[in-house]
């Protein structure tokens, strides 16, 4: 029983990383109006940005968060310029295919620049344990959860309290009407895309700290998890996407307690399939959609 409980706690922690990735993913999908395949690469680059920052300035987590956010946000600008900016009025699959290509480009560039091997990222956070017996939290887990919660809170404030947040929500709901209200759709989408990517970058850093390792090809599975979590949440609904990420993490970790750790992804994707069969719109409530 204790084992299951501690695995559930691990699940919550891992789920909160997925949640952050999914939040970023939902923000991106919201503003560009299309699923993206570069998110995994953005996450990977965020992880590498923090890796080199830690090497440069020592293990300072706050600087690491800022560096990974900024690096990934910058990649977000790059992705936006290549994949979206010219294709706002083009058929939607053009942007989609463009993101697939960009993702391949980024992944292979990363393998050339950073090398194809796993890199260790040890002892960023001292290995401390709080709790009784097997049930408890390590310091890493506390930091991960705290980072995710505080970033989500900041994002919530940004979206609901600021002019830019309101403009972003307007753009993600109706680009034409937003333009008519004097909102610069291009700039706002660029900003939203960068924020979404930045959050993905921080998630990448947390992933690297949590597993104490990073590799140029980590984006593939990370991006898939971000996508699955966001789909669970109905793609553009941010709180539901976060809930989706959390569920995915917990299901994965409970799944591997009854089998082997190599079946991790099987549980995640079977869970996704089951939810989509039962509730195709994901967790999000349909808020008054008219046909």
């Amino acid at each position: 029983m204790d084992y299951y409980l501690s695995q559930a706690i691990n699940g919550i922690c891992q789920g909160s990383i997925y949640a952050l990735m999914a939040i970023g993913y939902s923000v991106v999908v919201g503003v560009v109006g299309l699923v993206t395949f570069t998110h995994g690469e953005v996450i990977m680059l965020g992880a590498f940005a923090s890796f080199y920052t830690f090497q440069l300035v020592g293990n300072n987590l706050i600087i690491g968060v800022i560096a990974s956010f900024l690096a990934s946000a910058f990649i977000g600008v790059f992705v936006f310029k290549i994949c979206y900016e010219r294709f706002f009025n083009a058929p939607r699959h053009i942007s989609l295919i463009c993101t697939i290509g960009t993702s391949m480009l980024l992944r292979n560039l990363a393998q050339i620049i950073f090398g194809p091997n796993n890199k260790p990222l040890l002892e960023v956070v001292p290995n401390r344990f709080f709790g009784q017996g097997v049930v408890g939290l390590t310091l890493v887990q506390i930091i991960v959860i705290a980072t995710v919660i505080s970033l989500s809170f900041l994002l919530f404030l940004f979206f609901n309290r600021t002019r830019w947040g309101i403009m972003l929500r307007a753009v993600s709901q109706d680009k034409t009407a937003a333009a008519m209200m004097g909102i610069n759709v291009r700039l706002t989408s660029l900003l939203g895309n960068s924020i979404g990517c930045g959050l993905g970058g921080v998630a990448g850093m947390l992933l690297a700290i949590y597993y104490q390792t990073l590799v140029a090809t980590m984006g593939g599975s990370a991006g898939m998890k971000a996508f699955s979590s966001a789909v669970l949440g109905g793609l553009t609904n941010i709180p539901s996407a976060a809930a989706g990420g959390l569920c995915l993490g917990i299901v994965e970790n409970l799944g591997i307690t009854i089998s082997s750790a190599s079946f991790r992804d099987i549980f995640a994707f079977i869970f996704l399939l089951l939810v989509l069969i039962v509730k195709p719109e994901g967790f999000a409530k349909k808020t008054g959609v008219r046909p």
């Binding site: 333009a179 008519m180 004097g182």
Partner: protein, 260 residues
């Protein structure tokens, strides 16, 4: 009377289709200007050119003497041209109040830090916007629906939300694309009265409409388009008598000299 919007031989082609062909138009400040014509006559295309959604193939648009041809829509909106859409384009997942507040929000100053600490400037601005938005909603008669999600409102009321949102921009000129489509006769008359009242407050209003009774009773001046070309222009009485207009709507009589 000063001319607020001037179109100089505007053309818009989509491939081989001449949606708008050499249309000249002068809209006087403080008037209600109607644009009518059969379906596909190029009325909405013409609106899209005025509001910056399309770039005209040829010709110029002057707003208050300033050339706005090819400017992005958001810049034109900031200059003071607000519009509504034929197929309603509201922010569906926002309440009526939020929809209207967006128009005010783009002019506020406070940033993220102000919002984070909720300082005085932020709170004052928020209160100001809230009050202004409620006043606009009151004006169009949507007060009971302030907190309703826009997509949950019936069609006729959604149109009013669009008008309220356009008014939030404090425009000099209001472009209304088929504002009474889907309204019953009573609602139509109310909206007509409302538009006349707005006009009395100083808004210049351009309206596209199929409802002839509405157009004839509301507009001071009417432009008739057919197949992208201007076929007639004048006050309601003149337009009603015009032969080309009757032909465009009812077809040519088979008997020489007309049916009547």
């Amino acid at each position: 009377m000063a001319c607020i919007l001037e179109a100089q031989s505007i053309c818009k082609y989509f491939g081989g289709l001449k949606a708008v062909e050499k249309v000249d138009m002068q809209i006087e400040e403080g008037k209600i200007f109607g644009i009518i014509g059969p379906n596909g006559a190029g009325k909405t295309t013409f609106f899209n050119i005025c509001s910056g959604m399309y770039r005209p193939t040829a010709g110029r648009i002057l707003f208050e003497g300033k050339d706005i041809t090819g400017m992005p829509p958001e810049a034109i909106a900031r200059l003071g041209i607000a519009r509504t859409f034929q197929n309603i384009q509201l922010f569906r997942y926002m309440t009526v109040l939020e929809n209207v507040k967006i128009g005010f929000h783009i002019r506020t100053r406070s940033g993220f830090l102000n919002a984070l600490v909720r300082d005085r400037r932020y709170r004052e601005e928020e209160r100001f916007i809230e009050n202004e938005a409620r006043a606009v909603i009151e004006k169009v008669g949507l007060s009971p629906y302030v907190d309703t999600l826009a997509s949950n409102l019936p069609y006729g009321l959604q149109r009013k939300v669009e008008i309220a949102r356009a008014l939030a921009l404090k425009p000099k000129m209001l472009l209304l694309d088929e504002p009474v489509a889907g309204m019953n006769p009573l609602e139509t008359r109310e909206l007509s009265e409302f538009i006349i009242r707005l006009n009395a407050e100083g808004y210049t209003i351009v309206v596209i409409e199929h409802d002839m009774k509405f157009v004839m009773n509301t507009c001071h001046h009417i432009l008739v388009l057919n197949f992208g070309q201007k076929i007639c222009e004048g006050n309601p009485a003149e337009v009603r008598r015009n032969k080309a207009v009757n032909e465009a709507y009812f077809g040519k009589g088979l008997v020489v000299g007309g049916v009547s």
